[in-house]
Symmetry: C2
Subunit: 212 residues, 2 copies
């Protein structure tokens, strides 16, 4: 399962496994004695001995004289961000745009993303329904990740809220003269020309993900 995982003793493999599970469950590192009990080891010195070896072999880091200061080295564990899948979106179908508070309520479907993928931004996700974005190479069932924003450049793929119609859709954004052209990403659909006062940009598409 890992690079040089081979040259680890059974003890060390057990401890490493315990570390991973403990930190997933508790969100903080275990103490030496918790490792001792969790791995059925008779003495804390044995734990310390093996931790030292795990550190020398580059699997973990430890702080000296600091309790619970073990961290895993090979980023087997990283911070992930739970991104809410706010709903399905299809051309012309209104999407209730949630308040900031709703964004992180726990009772929605969540998508786990790494920090790399969100670039530290507070994103949210939508599931695409239908083929309304087919020209943008986004298919039915794909998930698009959006970064909240209130402005964007021409040609960017954004979620816009049409105030009068009270609906939200995904379109390509073009500022043309004193109108805004919202271009569907499907050749069979007509663009919408809207008054700038009527459109409010909700978010910019930053990533698209498709599972086969």
């Amino acid at each position: 399962m890992d690079p040089q995982m081979a040259d680890l003793s059974l003890r060390q493999k057990t401890i490493l496994q315990f570390l991973i599970e403990f930190m997933e469950d508790n969100q903080y590192p275990p103490s030496v004695r918790e490792i001792q009990n969790g791995c059925d080891i008779s003495s804390t010195s044995v734990v310390d001995y093996n931790l030292r070896h795990l550190e020398e072999k580059g699997f973990i880091n430890r702080g000296k004289e600091i309790s619970r200061s073990i961290s895993l080295e090979n980023n087997q564990i990283k911070r992930t961000i739970s991104v809410p899948i706010l709903g399905k979106i299809a051309a012309g179908v209104p999407l209730p745009m949630p308040s900031e508070n709703d964004l992180w309520s726990t009772d929605q479907e969540m998508l786990e993303l790494t920090e790399d993928q969100t670039q530290g931004k507070k994103v949210f996700a939508l599931m695409v329904e239908g083929t309304s974005m087919i020209d943008a190479l986004i298919n039915d069932g794909d998930i698009v990740v959006l970064e909240p924003t209130s402005s964007c450049d021409n040609g960017e793929m954004v979620a816009v809220w049409l105030k009068n119609e009270n609906e939200t859709t995904l379109k390509k954004f073009f500022h043309e003269g004193n109108k805004i052209r919202l271009q569907p990403m499907n050749a069979t659909m007509e663009p919408i020309f809207a008054d700038p006062a009527n459109v409010e940009i909700q978010g910019r598409v930053v990533t698209a993900i498709r599972s086969m």
Copy 2:
């Protein structure tokens, strides 16, 4: 930056900020006294007082009587998988298929994926170059994640190794009679008909990711 961050006292905001930065830097939670010093607070009791409030308001979790048992509510620590981006692939361009050992060597570009996204499988990734897969809604610059396999069903998108030609490409797989049809995902390209003995399936595309 967070749900009801508004109704936090300045102290609590400072502490929360310190928590985030400390855990980012050290990969483990701070002790009460480290928070005290880091935030220029005169007493541990004040830290405890504010931590209790932060917990009540749902920003953090704490374990009772457990040192360094603070965890942030939003960012979860989960297991992630470092997936190697083995190289770029374009129609007709040979791809050197690495051995199992090379798969996890550390000196390549890596893609961080969550367990959800890999479904626990030992996947690898390729960056798509050019528009050879445009009909499969996969564009230049997209990253495809593949699950190693030696067999597949008709119509699946797979990486195949053509032994005689000694090259690997991404195609749709069709078993037709005693031949195998490898269909490019671009209408302007012709399919390849190959002898079953000449094709070896390397992996099946399970996910496609596009960053904007």
